[in-house]
């Protein structure tokens, strides 16, 4: 095939088909609700840390599902485990347990938890 030079550059593309994610599978085992997120953003909107920092639980969950944890895990460092996200989540996700599980599975140093 002729390369016209208009192709997608790998660094700018989400290679979702190449995501093999044993860490996410382990997280799913620990907290099955991680796959229930509908990305409504209630958690991010009510987040006590979200006004001042990059903390955004919706983005954390999505990036873990897409195999891009390195970029987003540092966000969790700002979480104060206040639990407001758990109050507003329409899917009833136990966000506290989810966040602590992410810390366990992906490593405490990475997340700061």
């Amino acid at each position: 095939m002729i390369d016209f030079g208009y192709g997608l550059t790998p660094s700018a593309t989400l290679r979702i088909e190449q995501v093999s994610n044993p860490a996410f599978e382990e997280l799913h085992q620990r907290e099955p609700d991680v796959v229930k997120c509908i990305a409504c953003g209630s958690c991010a909107a009510s987040c006590a840390a979200g006004c001042f920092t990059e903390m955004n639980l919706r983005k954390v969950i999505l990036s873990l599902q897409r195999g891009r944890e390195k970029e987003t895990l540092p966000m969790l460092r700002h979480c104060m485990l206040c639990g407001k996200c758990q109050l507003v989540c329409p899917r009833g996700i136990n966000t506290r347990h989810l966040i602590l599980s992410i810390g366990k599975v992906y490593g405490l140093e990475e997340t700061g938890l």
Partner: protein, 338 residues
């Protein structure tokens, strides 16, 4: 003498099914607990997608009740199986022995005060979709002065496990867009927001309405669920949501907020299910034999369903299901007893 059939619930499904049954030669006994027939439709102003008046649909139906015996302010006291029939006792003292009962018990609007974080019943300027329709219908002057900014909150009590309603109420997306356009038409200076999770514009011309809302009315659509609402000393509302497409939380000052309360199973569903010994579905709505091929028949002989008693539906869906239920009952009654 023509055969009686009990129809429980005098909303559009019950009225339409009764008319169809009458046309097929039966005598429907239509029972309504409220003082008037018409259900939610009687309280609604205009209908999506074209904005026709609700009364232009309901009034011709109400003028065509010859041959239908209807009882308002009447509830069902008991239902008992007797051989091949059902004995139904009404709260007005009457009773009927029939072979077929049609449940057209409809839905209850979700009680928006249950979502305390949205402040319905606490903040004066937070109202519901039903309140807005009632206001439009009354033609009264606006309740509040200086409404510069208004927001519509989709999915209030829908797709919400904590509120006990996992289901999508189906009609609120297009209703919100319809009401947003109507509001903008009445008050062109107002900035109108819609906070949605997904815009489910599934019906014919619904997408056109959405396009019109964007192009002609300049409605601002924000993809994010409202997480909480607060109020300042002057009564202004502060609405928090994440713009999930942009990925940033936001806090907007609003003068009014409309909560799109969804459809929940009618409160009577449990009691009626118990009377006829049918288990409702896990979601609390009546469970038909098949949601695909037998939406009007139940697991018990002679018990039929139509309309939102079996889950959220649009008005045209409800009306056509009422017709289908009448035919299903006719076929059942024409089948010789075993």
């Amino acid at each position: 003498m023509s055969q009686n059939i009990v129809v429980i619930g005098g909303g559009p499904a019950g009225i339409e099914a009764s008319r169809r049954l009458r046309d097929l030669g039966y005598t429907p006994l239509l029972v309504e607990k409220e003082p008037v027939l018409g259900g939610h439709l009687a309280r609604w102003d205009r209908l999506f997608p074209d904005g026709v008046e609700a009364r232009s649909v309901l009034e011709p139906m109400l003028q065509d009740l010859d041959g239908i015996k209807y009882f308002t302010d009447t509830e069902i006291s008991s239902i008992n199986r007797l051989k091949d029939t059902w004995v139904v006792k009404f709260s007005n003292g009457l009773s009927a022995q029939v072979r077929a009962i049609l449940m057209t018990t409809g839905f209850d609007l979700f009680k928006a005060e249950k979502k305390e974080e949205y402040g319905y019943g606490i903040y004066e300027r937070v109202i519901t979709n039903a309140d807005l329709e009632a206001w439009f219908k009354s033609g009264a002057a606006p309740q509040f002065d200086h409404v510069h900014t208004i927001g519509f909150v989709h999915c209030v009590g829908s797709r919400d496990e904590k509120a006990g309603n996992r289901q999508c109420s189906k009609v609120c997306c297009v209703t919100a867009v319809k009401q947003a356009c109507e509001f903008k038409e009445k008050f062109p200076e107002t900035t109108v927001y819609c906070f949605y999770m997904d815009l489910r514009m599934f019906g014919r011309k619904f997408e056109d309405l959405y396009l019109k809302a964007q192009k002609e009315y300049g409605i601002r659509f924000v993809r994010g669920r409202v997480s909480e609402v607060s109020e300042d000393i002057d009564g202004h509302l502060f609405v928090k949501a994440e713009d999930t497409l942009f990925g940033k939380p936001m806090k907007i000052k609003m003068d009014m907020l409309v909560l799109m309360a969804g459809m929940t199973p009618a409160a009577d569903t449990q009691e009626l299910s118990r009377m006829v010994n049918i288990l409702p579905g896990e979601d609390g709505f009546f469970q038909p034999q098949s949601l695909v091929s037998n939406p009007c028949t139940s697991s018990r002989e002679g018990i039929f369903f139509a309309g939102t008693a079996t889950g959220p539906k649009t008005l045209p869906e409800t009306l056509s299901e009422a017709g289908a239920a009448a035919l299903a009952i006719d076929r059942y009654l024409k089948t010789p007893l075993k």
